[in-house]
Symmetry: C2
Subunit: 136 residues, 2 copies
Amino acid sequence: MNSIQLLSNHQLRKTQFRERVLDIFLRYERALSQKDLEEQLHESDRITLYRTLKTFEEKGLIHKAIDGSDRLKYALCAGHCDVHAHHDHHAHFHCVTCERTFCIEDVQAPALDAPPGFEVESTHVIINGRCAECAH
Amino acid sequence: MNSIQLLSNHQLRKTQFRERVLDIFLRYERALSQKDLEEQLHESDRITLYRTLKTFEEKGLIHKAIDGSDRLKYALCAGHCDVHAHHDHHAHFHCVTCERTFCIEDVQAPALDAPPGFEVESTHVIINGRCAECAH
DNA sequence: TTTTAAGTGCAACATTGTTGCGTGTTGGTT
DNA sequence: AACCAACACGCAACAATGTTGCACTTAAAA
Ligand SMILES: [Mn+2]
Ligand SMILES: [Mn+2]
Ligand SMILES: [Zn+2]
Ligand SMILES: [Zn+2]
C-alpha cells in the first residue's frame, strides 16, 4: 500500500503535502504526534498539518492513538476503516522511557461490563511499559 | 472521609483553597477536569488550581483519569494511594454525550500480553459509551 | 482549457500547560 | 502569645497546542 492508493481509496485529492504526511506514517510503523510529523516534514505549516490529520481521521486513513500522554497521536488504520466508521479495536502500547506508542494489533480490547444503565460503545486499552528497545 | 482528614492523611497543609477543591471532588463522585472545577469554585486562580491538582496527584489524593477526551481529568483515589504509589487500576467510563467520566471500580484492567521484549508496567481501560442518564 | 470545489498558508485568537517571583499563610518552635 | 521558616498563593509571563477566517493556489472534472 502506498500513499497515492490510500488517498484514492478514501476519496481524497492527491496533493504533495498529503503524500508526504502519509509517507511518514508508512515509514514509521507507529503512532505519531503532530510534533513527530513536523520534525520529519522539515518545511510545513502546522495549521495545514492539523487540518490534514483531522481530514485523514474523518476519512478513516488514520485513527487516534490514545496513550495517556499529554500529546495526541495518530496511527495508520490497518484497513477497512472509512468515512463511516473506524474498526481499530487494538491496544496501544506506550513506552514510558522513549514515549513512543505502538499499535498492538494482536491485543484486542476485551468485552467489558459497565454498571447498570450504562451503554458501552467502544473500549480502549492502553498498556504502559517499556518497549523492546528500551527494556534492553 | 472529609477534606480535612484527606489533607492530614497525606501530610498536606490545610488551606481554605485545598479544602474547597477537595469538597468538590467529594460532592461530585466522578472525574473532573480543571474547567469543571473552576466552574464550581467561582473565584479561583487557574495557576493555583493547576498546582493544587499536581500536588494532590503526587501525594496520592487524586489520580489522572485518562478518558480519551482532549481534556485531562482527575478523580479521588479510593484509598491507600500515597506519595509512593497509586493503586487505582479500575476502568474509566467516558460518556460520549455529556462528556462526563466515571471511575468504574468494579472493572479492573485485565492482564494483557504484549509483544516479545515489551515489558508491561500498567494498563488502562477506557470505556466509551453513554452513561445511565444519557442512555435514557 | 476552463471552471469550481477543495487545499494551503498566514493572521489571529482561545485554551491549556508551565515557571518565576513577591507576598501571604500555616504549623511548629521559642 | 510571638516568631520563624517552609510552604502556599496570586499574578505576570511565556510556550505549546487547538481552532477559525480568509485570500490565494491547485486538483480534477467538465
Ligand atoms: Mn492503533
Ligand atoms: Mn478513577
Ligand atoms: Zn521505548
Ligand atoms: Zn452522559
